[in-house]
Amino acid sequence: MSILFDHLGELGTGLLTTLELSVLAFPLAVLLGTVLGVCRVSPVPPLRAVATGYVHCFRNAPLLLIMVMVVFALPYAGVTVPLFGSVVLGLGLYFASYVCETIRSGIASIPIGQIEAARAIGLGFGGVLREVVLPQTFRSMVQPLGNIFINTALGSALAAAVGVQELTGSARQFNLTYAQPVPSFVAAGIGYLLITLTAGQIIGFIERKVGIER
C-alpha cells in the first residue's frame, strides 16, 4: 500500500491526462452535436438525413471501435492525427451523437406557440433558433449534458488501449510493475470519482443559476 503513495505522482499524471481528454473532447462533442441536432430539426431533408445517418452510425457502434478506427484506419485515408488528438476526436465524434439527441429533445420541449410567435415577429429559421429555441434548450438540458460530460470522462479510459497513458493506463502500468491490482484500481476509481463528483457539483451549480422554473 505504501508503495502506492510513493508513486502517486504517476497516477496524478494519468489523472491530468484523463481530465485533459474530457475537457477537450466535451466542447467538440457539444459543438458538433448542436450542429447535428439543429440539422435533425431543420426543414431541409438532406440535412436531416445526414444528421440521422450520423447518429445511427456513431451511437450504435462501441466507443472502442470508433477509437481504433480513428487511430488506425484514418491514416490509410491520408489523415494522421497524433494519438492524443485521435482520442479527443474519437470521443468528440462519439459523444456528439448523444449531444445531438439531447439537443433535439430539448428543442422538442419548447412550446410550439413560442416558435410561432417568433415567426410572427419576423424571425427566420436561424433567428428563431438563435434568439428563442437554443438558449432555452441549453438551459433545460444542463443536467443531461452534464451526464454526457461524465460519460466522456469515463469513456476516456479506453484511450489506454490505443497508446495514450491516462488514469486507467497508469493504474495498469503500476499494477504490472508492483503487482498490486486492488490498490491500483481502487486508486484509479477514486481519481474518476474526483472528476465526476466535481463535475456533478459544477453541473448542479450551473443548473441552479440558469435552470428554467416551469
Partner: protein
Amino acid sequence: MTGKSTLVTALVGVTLIGSVLAGCGSAPTAATNAGGVAGAAATAQKIDQSAAVAAGPVGQNLPSTPTLDKIRQQGALVFAGARNGLGFSQLDPTTGKVSGFDEGIAELLAKYLLGKPNVKMSQGSSDTRETLLQNHTIDAAIETYTITPARAQLVNFAGPYYLAASGIVVKSTDSGITKVSDLAGKKVATESGAAKDALVAAAPTAQPVLFDTTAECITALEQGRVDAVTLNNALLLGAVATKPDVKMISATYSSNPFGIGLAKDDPRFKTIVNQFLNTIFTDGVWTTLWKDTVGTLLKTPPPAPPKLGSAAGS
C-alpha cells in the same frame, strides 16, 4: 410527403453506411490486415506442440497438496493464458485450438499431474493474475509471465522455463537503428509489462507508447506514429513474417525469465512443478517443444533450457 422524406432518410442512411463500409473494405488497412491474418494463420499452422506433449512424462507418486487435489478433482488444469501471442499461445479462430510454447507447457504440466493433457484456459488478463492465483480461481498462470521480485511477494514462481530476449522492429527503409541504444529519445511502441520494463532499463530516454496487441504496435510503426517496436523477439518474428515494409534488426537485448505463477500458500506444489520442469529439461521434451513452436519462428538452433531458480524471485 412524410413517406417520401422517410424514404430519402432511409436511402441516405443506407448509402452513408454503405460508403463507410465500402471505405473500410477498399482501404489498404483491411487489405494489409487480411494479408497479415492469412499469413499469421499459415505460420500458426506450423506451430504444433502435440508431438512434444505426446512424448511428455507422467509424474509418479506425486504427494498430495491442496492445489494438486483440486486439479485432480476438476480433472483439468485451469490456467491463465493468452490467445494472441504467436509462437507462445495463439488461438486459431477457425479450429478453436490454441498452439504455442506456453500452451505446450500447460498441456505437459497437466499430463504430468493427471496422466492426460486436460487443460482449461481462463483468459486471465495480465492485470489480475496475482489476484486470481491468490483466490484459487486459477491453478497456474502460464502466459509469458516474467518473474520479478515484486510479483514473487504475492505468488510463487516455478522455473524459469524460458528466457526471452527483446527484439526490435523498424521500417524497412530505416538504417539508423541497429542496436538498442539507438532507441534513445525515440518513440517506441511496446506492450505494458516485461517488454516495456526491458526497454526502459536498456534505453532510459526512449518514449514507450503502449498498445494492447502486437498487431497494433506493428500498424503504429507502419503508419509512422512510432520509430520502432520492441517486444519479445519470438512474438515479433511471427508478426513481421508477412509484412514487407518492416524489418527486424539482428541485435536483441535483455533477458526476461518466464515462470509458472502458482499460489503462494501451497509451496509443496511449487516443488512438484519444478520437478516437472526438471524432468522435461533433461529428457529432451523441452527442446522438442521449443523446436516445434518458438523454433519455427526463430530458425536458430535450440538453446539450452534455463537453470531452475536462476531468476531473482523464482
